[in-house]
Symmetry: D3
Subunit: 206 residues, 6 copies
């Protein structure tokens, strides 16, 4: 009788029940276009348990002694439209993450080691030292950095209020471009030799 009941209720709200997951979840069809609200949904009858599981996999080695493992929508398509994603960050001794912003809010849970974190607003800085069991928040749009201030590897778990957080590093924005050194120097108040030096380091030109 259960089958009948399901089919009846499905028929009630959907022309074909298996094609309807309009709001419970929407596994991204990464081969199609995206839109301001995200990707198209895969047909719900092709969704299996495997779509709900993701493994961080091998660590990705990033400069500055940082490793990052990502679960954002492009790697974990069930996140499409859900407004959340997660990362694991590992900073070796002396590792750090340069000053950057995101267009989503970030919450960070310290798991191991010690991090110095700072939020740099135009009016003041908010600085903390985090140890295991501590958390911090980086509101969207505010410049922040993380520095391993301990004697061992630092490990943190991170979540974002977006399925596709992007990292807007200040040094990349300022120096990895072909805008003239004169203009960058003028609009950042940096000295031209400093700009030229960092353009050279980060593959900028001009």
């Amino acid at each position: 009788m259960n089958t009948i009941l399901i089919l009846l209720f499905c028929g009630l709200v959907a022309s074909t029940c298996h094609a309807s997951n309009m709001q419970d979840f929407c596994v991204a069809d990464l081969k199609g276009p995206d839109s301001p609200s995200g990707y198209h949904c895969l047909p719900s009858d092709t969704v299996t348990s495997q779509n709900f599981k993701h493994s961080f996999g091998e660590p990705l080695t990033v400069p500055f002694n940082a490793k990052l493992y990502a679960a954002s929508v492009k790697k974990f398509p069930v996140l499409n439209g859900l407004g959340i994603s997660a990362f694991r960050g590992e900073l070796e001794r002396d590792g750090f993450v340069p000053v950057h912003t995101h267009e989503s809010n970030e919450i960070l849970i310290m798991h191991q080691g010690q991090l110095d974190v700072g939020i740099l607003t135009p009016e003041r800085a908010y600085v903390n030292t985090l140890k295991p069991g501590d958390l911090t928040v980086f509101p969207k749009g505010l410049q922040h950095y993380l520095v391993n201030s301990g004697k061992e590897k630092a490990v943190a778990y991170i979540a974002y209020s977006s399925p596709n957080p992007r990292f807007n590093f200040v040094h990349q924005a300022l120096f990895a471009n072909n805008v003239s050194t004169k203009t960058i120097a003028q609009t950042t108040f940096l000295d031209e030799p400093q700009v030229r030096k960092l353009k050279a380091r980060f593959n900028g030109s001009g």
Copy 2:
């Protein structure tokens, strides 16, 4: 002169005016994919008065002496993106709607007969008896039930804050699956014979 005026203003805000219904309404193209914001829009110059009219049609007989008539986006595509839908519910004498949740808010208007309705939250229950002219609200995510407590058929009109409300019945979620009886019993505190009995009734296995 009117035609000129319309064309001018249309030209002002759209490359072709007839292709622009971006926000007034967006009749769902149900043959295309859906996305986190809903379906693609049909070309606006194919929209006619008929797209704005829907008939509940024949009643759909549901178990437990309930009949439901639906106007959700899959039956009434103009609802796409509008954040609303409507139903008519009829519960014969002794009819009821089992405990369930929706991912949208629900408002119910009693038209005929008498219903006992209950909202079951983790902290307490909110219980009412509804007669013609009464209304109630079921906030999204909260378990609720409806029982015909009168001597005649009960009729209610219902609206949801979603174009595609879904019914998440507790008994279907718990028993119409192939998760092991042991696990369901453990995580619901039900006795295993009870779980097995209802798995059998609602086509579950395991």
Copy 3:
């Protein structure tokens, strides 16, 4: 043991569990100020079953042979923040509702009688005749009217995608004000005697 469990989970997510209804529902404190998101919430431990029940009560007689019964947030405060409200409309024979707009989407279910409804957009009109079991939709911002075209009273149930729908009648906007007849005539293309006549009828001046 249940009490312990509840308290523990409550303590987990709230400093005092009874003060926390932040998202399940938020019964409006109508004595306080409103904000762009609605009213403040009443303390959740003062909420009882009665907050979830509203009765349309006595019919309200409106000119033009229309009666309206409302369940919007000011009468049914649990609707605060829920994005929905409901009405019952009765149009006596020859009754009608003048041309107006809302800033929310509207879905209408015909229950009894017959209504001619029209949506007037700048490009075209969408016109339908509704009989019991029919539904229609009035998207926000689009001018629409309802006329009883049957031989008996027409009864409809209506829901809005807002807890506080407002009626923006064209005749009130144009004529119930003290803007000069000349300006109203110029910017509506109506003749001045027509404007003066309707300003007199609807208590305007100028």
Copy 4:
């Protein structure tokens, strides 16, 4: 080293970095369908500086001595999903913009000349005279008009809280349609000869 860094971070959050502009911006693919959230995004690696620049171009001559220059999503596709658009309006001496509404909020900056503006709500009118350096706001859904009350051309810059503002003129909605004169007259309280006269003027019938 910069290239490596970019690729690593890109790889972190996207399977292919160049295909990912999910939230920074989403240049509309105007050849594809729209949806309740807007148009599909063009592939981000096809976006150039030119996508970020638009020119108002030649003035568009509108009746009633008004000229309007538009930058909405259909002309400036980078606005897709950004919730904003801009216009330049010029009203020659004696020019005006008839009573209308938008489904987005509007802010107007006076640059030159003088405008009389009025917001007509069902309860009252809010009327102001604007001179260079003055601003006003027209909230969505509220009827408003603009009349050049100065002795020279009036120039204003305008922005909307939508990438695709539409103009819902009262005279077009009421008269540029084929609904019967009798029904329009009944539901607007206008006299039938007035309705017939304006239907004739604005290409309506019925």
Copy 5:
């Protein structure tokens, strides 16, 4: 010169700069009322670095061998309006979290041990076994459970797409209330003795 610059720009966008953090962040004033959008903001000039740091503190022992550490808005007020929160969960050997829903999306990162997790939808179940480095997602409104299926303690980090996630346990909703056993049995299909037994266990009555 910096001070001047800051004051000038502050003066530009705010009557008093220090009182204006309207959108960067809004630390909750937990002593005031909440609203559909959250709590009032503390004055921004009272916010210090300490507002951006929270410590999970002592573990909270929950029945069923589960411990939960919370960082939701009532414990970490800077989360107000940010749409995110975080938890640490520890399940001892044989520990589990009963079937429940949330009104926010959840992402879970396995850190240690092994968990069997299941999502129970009306149509089917999605079941996975998670080991360190695995992630899963529980979309809002869908019933799910977690069972420690390993031989050691399981540890997971969790984030929600809400600053105030609530746990809606099925057993609490169904049994910790005073609705009659007859009604609960009827609307859940459970046998009355089963309902009575669990009402007794979880402090329900009726």
Copy 6:
């Protein structure tokens, strides 16, 4: 009769009509607290035409030969909850606006003179020269600058998709704080002498 009609319809949707402007507009009570959705609304019966008019007033002289005139919510309270604001910017010959971001989308209309504008993303720069009648867009979160590249004063009109845009200047975020020079240098890749020099210039310390 108009008065009767208004009162009846008001009574229908509001306990007192004059206190109800819940969604048409909500003039900010700047003396009260703000919340994630904005400020409380002033009582609607205290709102007059003057609330809908704002004057830019005297120019505000900003360093670097820029003058800015603002109409954001703190100066023009009717913008509360409307998602829009407007500015006039004047850059004298050689004037510029340093690299910065906003947490809202920005549209800029060139009125007079010539501006070089650049958007600096981590992957590339989008650079344009704007002349009268040109427009550009700065999406939220992306670094951008403006430089007067003409021989006369440049004048532009600007709107934001927020009632309260904030300016997050890179030089203020990086240098106007008390974070140690060593940490700023490490996390921005700037040389320490450069950091010290700009900390001194912009009133930072450490």
